[in-house]
């Protein structure tokens, strides 16, 4: 194995936290159970990594195998990256093609390799008909930089693709082109059932009118379909302190107060949608919260006008 590849293996394995090491290596499935058992996992991390790299050399690991390991590491740490979302739209008159994953992968790779001679493209299938694509970019004269790859996650049954990278901007049109040949159809989610009907006639809701109003306003704001899955929203406030009390220590402060508010949840938008029906908040909710799907962003900077 050449030195640069061995070094890449070393650095990739070194990144993996010890708590995740076995899980990641097992998911990678490149080193056998027997081989893993020969490694003493109680040593210092550098020594463990060295032993693992030697095993990789024994198995004649290729760049492709290293790329797979890198994808798996990134899948475990996907929340540490910032992802952009792209939505593909169908041109008028385009037919709906049946999607073939293998065909997609091969044509994607071909398009990139035709345009740039030096590029490493690797694929890994994942849940819900999605594929993770790792792209290491090079230039005409330089080999691909394996340490700054771009990731694209494409959910084949939807028109959405997620990308993450430090150096993607110039290569965006190329990526777009490689998606062009594949149209996709959105799958319509089933509508959730409306208000659950209280079958027990001995329970009477005094505020029925108010409840119905809350449901109606919530539906107007959020719609009927399930919300997009979002895990957090962050608001950076740079506003002057406002107080109801006259005077007070901060009331006369001229400079804006800096404050960060972060909402996080396994499913933030559904949580916001259920606030008013659950009686935890009044409708209408603050437009700062409800504008998230419309504006398509979840990082906000708020300044005084």
């Amino acid at each position: 194995m050449d030195e640069t590849l061995a070094e890449f293996f070393r650095r990739t394995i070194l990144k993996i936290p010890m708590t995740e090491m076995m899980t990641v290596l097992k998911t990678w499935n490149f080193l056998s159970e027997n081989q893993l058992q020969t490694v003493n996992f109680r040593q210092r991390k550098e020594s463990i990594v060295q032993d693992l790299v030697l095993l990789c050399e024994e198995n004649r690991a290729s760049l492709n195998d290293a790329a797979h390991l890198d994808i798996i590491y990134t899948q475990f740490h996907r929340h540490q990256k910032i992802w952009d979302v792209f939505q593909m739209s169908k041109g008028p008159g385009d037919d709906i093609d049946l999607f073939d994953m293998e065909q997609f992968k091969s044509s994607f790779k071909k398009i990139l390799q035709r345009a740039l001679k030096n590029v490493t493209v690797s694929f890994k299938d994942a849940e819900e008909n999605s594929v993770w694509i790792r792209i290491a970019w090079g230039t005409q004269y330089k080999k691909p930089n394996q340490y700054k790859p771009a990731y694209v996650v494409y959910y084949s049954q939807t028109p959405y693709a997620f990308t993450s990278s430090s150096q993607l901007k110039s290569n965006l049109p190329l990526l777009g082109q490689s998606f062009e040949t594949h149209n996709s159809t959105t799958s319509l989610q089933e509508r959730s059932l409306g208000l659950d009907i209280n079958m027990n006639s001995r329970i009477i809701h005094e505020n029925k009118v108010e409840k119905e109003r809350v449901q109606r306003v919530t539906q107007e704001i959020f719609g009927d379909y399930p919300q997009p899955r979002l895990e957090f929203a962050q608001y950076k406030l740079e506003t002057k302190f406002k107080s109801d009390l006259n005077g007070g220590i901060l009331a006369e402060r001229e400079e804006p107060l800096r404050c960060l508010v972060k909402f996080s949840s396994p499913h933030l938008l559904e949580a916001l949608k259920s606030l008013a029906p659950a009686g935890i908040a009044d409708v209408p909710l603050s437009p700062l919260l409800t504008c998230i799907p419309n504006k398509g962003k979840n990082y906000f900077k708020i300044r005084d006008k």
């Binding site: 027990n200 329970i203 009477i204 505020n207 009686g279």
Partner: protein, 180 residues
Amino acid sequence: MSALRPLDKLPGLNAATILLVGTEDALLQQLADSMLKEDCTSELNVHLARALPLPCSVNRPRIDLIVFVVNLHSKHSLQNVEESLCHLDAAFFLGKVTFLATGAGRDSHCSVHRNTVVKLAHTYRSPLLFCDLEVEDFRASMAQRLVRLLQICAGHVPGVSALNLLSLLRGSENPSLEDL
């Protein structure tokens, strides 16, 4: 909309009506369901309201017991109860009002201090019950208790009135003001 009065309507035959007041509809609904599962010789009616005053209604039966539900996780729910208390006739506080605080089990989620509700109940001279309504078993036993309280407040238990009950409950449960 006038204040709710305890004795401005005639009682229904064998009927006992409880009014649960609180912001979190789901909790109230679950409590109501648990209460109605109990075996009871009286005919139970449960009314759920977000706040007082109630919308005008001639058809509403006489309300025998009002339970104000405060979720200790939510200042909004406390504020709602405090504002609703103003719309209640003073005569209700002779044994026909109870406070119920939920959420004490998850201390890290509490934004309302226990003592705040204790003081509130003390101010209104009414009993305070604690129960984590989200836990099914606790909710079921609280429902049993409320059904019993309701029967007494509706006058269905011979020999015990709401006022008797008040003195009985005050002694054992509520700490005196000096202890707070």
